[in-house]
Symmetry: C2
Subunit: 190 residues, 2 copies
């Protein structure tokens, strides 16, 4: 067998179909059950795939949830490109606050249960890359731009905090206030 | 029976002793077990008190954990009074980051599991009151001062975020950077 050919994954191919079925099973199970009750045997049964396939590809329930979150956050809160940093940040913050409402509890619990650390988390790294590209566009336009850490700590962290401690998403005025605060800081600091 | 007298609670009295025993039992159980396995019957058994007493006083495991957290955070991270807002914020941030390391996972999981919302959480309200008093001292000295929300979102939220997604506390340089960022913002915004 040619090793390179065996490794190739066609979009829409068997591998993508397995992923889609497994992700759908995780989402269904999560809507029925507590995260703690979502197990690999249950996911395998519902998706109609071998448990071994899931273990090989995702390693653990935490890895599976991480992959689902990576996919869903990208879908539900695509990174905007409005032409201004403020516009991009506001739209991104408002959409992300909305995504956190249904997914946030799962994301927070998955992180707290099994600590898929940011350094290795697929969903975290993917999102970070998208946000960095958004910041790079602003820099290229000549705008004063926060670092990725300043963005994550100034906007993403408070949105999580709000969902975690108040049990509801920050509303759009709140999201805009976070953006305003970050941009006042960046204007003063650069 | 005189109702007023029955309601009085002497510090160090029977009520305080029950609280101390129950809190110790919760902390012991939490160090042995997952939060999900900490139940009121187990706490009652270990503390040597009736289950009914615990249900009456704390209502749920979430309420119990909230009470423990309120006590431990105040003990482990007392609010400083250094004479300057920057000094107070830096010390508070550094100590809180350290407290989050052992307690943070529990706090986050307790919040995510049972959502003791900030509006009703004993530990959240107590901490908020202490931080507001710290800010009021700064205002009284004539310093430009963030609001409590700006403080929680600018410092506390990123400290949680870091612990949650990186699985380790923010170090003291990181904590100081958060304070610096908040004070640059406050200086520019007021």
């Amino acid at each position: 067998m040619d090793r390179g050919a065996a490794k190739k994954k066609r979009p829409g191919g068997r591998s993508a179909q397995v992923r889609a079925r497994v992700q759908a099973a995780v989402i269904e199970l999560l809507s029925d059950r507590q995260l703690e009750e979502v197990t690999i045997p249950r996911v395998a049964e519902r998706a109609g795939v071998h448990q071994a396939t899931i273990y090989r590809r995702w390693g653990s329930v935490a890895g599976l949830v991480d992959d689902v979150v990576a996919e869903r956050v990208g879908e539900l809160a695509p990174i905007p490109d409005t032409g201004t940093l403020r516009g991009d940040l506001e739209l991104a913050a408002i959409r992300f606050a909305e995504v956190i409402a249904p997914l946030g509890g799962i994301m927070i619990r998955a992180a707290a249960l099994s600590t898929p650390h940011a350094d290795t988390s697929v969903s975290f790294q993917k999102r970070a890359g998208q946000l960095q590209a958004m910041l790079d566009r602003a820099t290229a336009r000549g705008e004063k731009t926060p670092t990725l850490t300043e963005l994550l700590e100034g906007i993403t962290a408070p949105l999580y905090f709000h969902q975690l401690f108040f049990g509801r998403p920050a509303d759009s005025d709140h999201a805009k206030a976070l953006v305003d605060r970050l941009l006042i800081y960046v204007e003063a600091a650069r």
